[in-house]
Symmetry: C2
């Protein structure tokens, strides 16, 4: 893989000086035409964001490990330069023997999917790999050490890395091979000669930007997704629910006091700080999401939760890959994040209303599962509710809302319009449940014609999920404790 | 993932009878229009190929494990129905604890890439998962056992599988989640009711075919591949070769006798039967591929090698994914397959001449690496030669061939045309070497201005690669022997 990168390029200072103005001119846009004008605009330092990733901050350590890259993504119209990205950690950990082959392989898959998603979202992803052969690396360190003015740049780590050169090669070669794809190939840059390096990166960037800008946009990509299972009979996961569940007001009040107390105690549990909770509320219009959410928030200390109402994306959010606006709200440790509507918008309203292409919502199932797996893998409890009411019950609630003046704002023409697409939404919900109810982040379908029953089921499910997670956390701690002890003993 | 699939569908015989003719009509094409006519044509049993995959035959066991699926792929215009495909083995092996988590994860990645490649090649891939809950499975076995006319259908394996139901669920759920993509999502079919099953599969197939046929073909997919590293200076892996290597005829003859004998002995080595060898010959026109190949074949017993000359694909080959015509020539154990030109055509002539889109040849690097990894993982020694001559040397050889009547057929207008694109080909070769010279299947660049030197370097490289592989095979055997002994001891 490093055949070209190991050649000893040596661009003379003179040649570089000859080339450099041309490159600068092109990158900075003294040329003509719209393309170069756009480039010019971009190449302005205000449009470049440089990010370096060192050890994660405490803010970052409390989130899934990809969180810090998501928050650093450049919006549309900007160039983000990442020094070391999601590739660095897995390679390093594997070389140092801190993660198993299986874990490493999972990282590789994760990276493949992340990069595919970014490319699908329109990101131009250029991955440069600066390569030095062992020989070249030795030479570089020697040269730096000899000169007193640069000797300080050679750290203990540099020397250690040189010793590990062969181990690195054994990990990096298959890593690069496996993460090099048509849309996001690795570009190995011979790292020995700074002039060469500069020209190679600059020209690649320039050519890539030009190519992308010159490209005629395709209106509609061909739909390569096969259709999902069509309805065969009148049975589906929603229709099989018994939506009218019995519960009187009195029963409810008693139960509410009980579950509220339990949730409160759980949220103050000492091990709760090892977790965070992400709850998603989705459901039919007027199914009672808001009132169910209030029963949750009334049960927890205000410093322990944050609610995230999800409406149309802001301008800033539209300039980012779809999931960006949800990643940014992943809570810190010990916090319950409550999403009032969520990332499922893509496979519900956006699908039904045609706001995105079929290819987009079809790939979203995969991306959402991946997102939730990232959370679950980081000890975040993901609890998802679909509040279901019948069509008749919805009609009653709409009408009732129109009558009560202070509730009238809650019912809009949109609601009536959505209602007309009831069957399409039902279909979308069933597909969503089938494709995203997973062992790590299952959907709970809540029969909500009786709102008392709905609220209690929500609280109960949430409590049980947290209890389960606390138990898992305890086991994990014990196991880690034992392992530590074992290590000390050995 | 199995929410819908666990519903108890029960299509009454009457309802089925009502539906069935409609479905049959649609599938068998009593309808109108071109679409249905095409469907009609396809639904003819002559256009459906049903494949079942049981334990691999000895023919199959001697090839990489995906080989039997490649050979079973339906050509364009046909429907292949696979009962159990590349998914079955990894799941089964993992449930039975025969493969590690890391190995299982590698299978998952491999499957993701295989299916992506198939979809990129235009295959409509429908993956049906027939799901039975544990309860339903129990009921089914009981019902079958009770009836003497069906009791024979219940095997010991069925009972064992029932016991393993929870283990299966634990492996299958994440497996399905990870291998479900936008282009090839899993479609879970409730498996309890045969009528339902039949309708569900039939309708999905019908809808999918209609959708694909109705789709307007997009002329050119947008190019999402960034450009590869541009030439910065006048140095590249080919230009850095010293093409004129000294060797006299006398030296050559002596060396040839020596290497020829060595290769012959190696090919008769008892452990050679645990291996196979795939050699690839690529190079400039008139670089001497043919004569180098003859030196190899003259060194081996005729029953031990097969040469595969690669020219334009046949009609049958054009109806298959690109790599199909190379998969079919993967040799059995103990055989040396010699490819005179190869799968690298896609990133050489097809790229330079524009026979395929940039997206196609860009993804080919990944697919080729995957292909060779499959081979290497199955103890196939992959040896790849690029025979390089200078532009001046090529001119001399072309002219010489034109003068000698019995060699005149070897020089065609194509050769002169290709020569005019010398720089484009050079660029393509450098990219090819950078992107596909891997630790498991490295390229050997052969300086071929002096054909004596070239031939000897080919023989020597081949011998050394086989020797290495024989050593590895010995080590592997020893290790396996130890493990077996260890098991017996325990």
């Amino acid at each position: 893989m490093f055949e070209s990168a190991e050649l000893d390029h040596d661009i003379s200072k003179a040649a570089f000086r000859r080339e450099e103005p041309k490159l600068r001119e092109a990158l900075l846009g003294a040329g003509k035409g719209e393309t170069v004008n756009r480039l010019n605009e971009w190449m302005d330092p205000r449009h470049i964001e440089v990010q370096a990733f060192n050890a994660p901050s405490d803010e970052e350590a409390e989130r899934p490990h990809l969180w810090r890259f998501w928050r650093a993504l450049p919006p549309k119209g900007k160039i983000g330069i990442f020094f070391g990205a999601w590739h660095t950690e897995p390679i390093l950990e594997r070389v140092l023997g801190r993660i198993s082959a299986a874990r490493f392989q999972r990282h590789v898959s994760e990276i493949q999917r992340l990069e595919k998603m970014l490319c699908d979202e329109g990101v131009l992803l250029l991955k440069f790999w600066f390569h030095l052969s062992k020989q070249q690396q030795k030479k570089r360190l020697k040269a730096l050490s000899r000169d007193p003015s640069t000797a300080w740049r050679v750290t203990e780590l540099d020397r250690k890395l040189l010793d590990l050169h062969d181990d690195f090669a054994a990990v990096c070669e298959p890593f690069l091979r496996q993460t090099s794809t048509g849309e996001a190939p690795w570009i190995a840059i011979p790292g020995a000669d700074p002039q060469y390096r500069y020209l190679a990166v600059g020209r690649t960037l320039l050519t890539a930007l030009r190519e992308r800008l010159d490209e005629k946009p395709v209106k509609r990509l061909p739909d390569r997704s096969p259709p999902l299972l069509p309805a065969i009979d009148n049975l589906n996961v929603l229709k099989s629910l018994e939506l009218d569940q019995p519960m009187t007001k009195k029963q409810y009040e008693k139960a509410f006091d009980r579950w509220r107390a339990r949730l409160n105690v759980l949220s103050r549990h000492p091990r709760f700080h090892d977790l965070s909770v992400v709850t998603v509320f989705e459901g039919n219009d007027a199914a009672g999401k808001g009132s169910a959410i209030r029963r949750v928030t009334r049960s927890i200390d205000a410093r322990r939760y944050q609610t995230v109402p999800v409406a149309a994306p802001t301008e800033e959010e539209r300039a980012q890959p779809y999931l960006w606006r949800f990643w940014r709200h992943i809570p810190r440790r010990g916090i319950v994040a409550i999403f009032d509507r969520s990332w499922y918008g893509r496979v519900l309203v956006e699908r039904v209303e045609g706001y995105c292409s079929e290819a987009d919502w079809m790939r979203a199932y995969r991306e959402i599962n991946e997102f939730e797996q990232q959370m679950a893998g980081h000890d975040i409890v993901v609890v998802k509710f679909w509040l279901a009411i019948s069509k008749a019950e919805q009609y009653r609630r709409f009408k009732a809302r129109e009558k009560v003046s202070f509730k009238r704002f809650k019912i809009t023409p949109d609601d009536w319009r959505n209602r007309r697409k009831w069957d399409d939404y039902e279909r979308a919900v069933c597909d969503m449940v089938d494709r995203t109810s997973t062992a790590i982040a299952p959907w709970t379908l809540v029969e909500a014609n009786n709102k008392y029953h709905a609220r209690i089921k929500v609280l109960k499910t949430l409590c049980e999920a947290i209890e389960e997670a606390l138990k898992r956390a305890k086991k994990k701690r014990k196991k880690e404790g034992k392992r530590r002890k074992g290590r000390r003993g050995g």
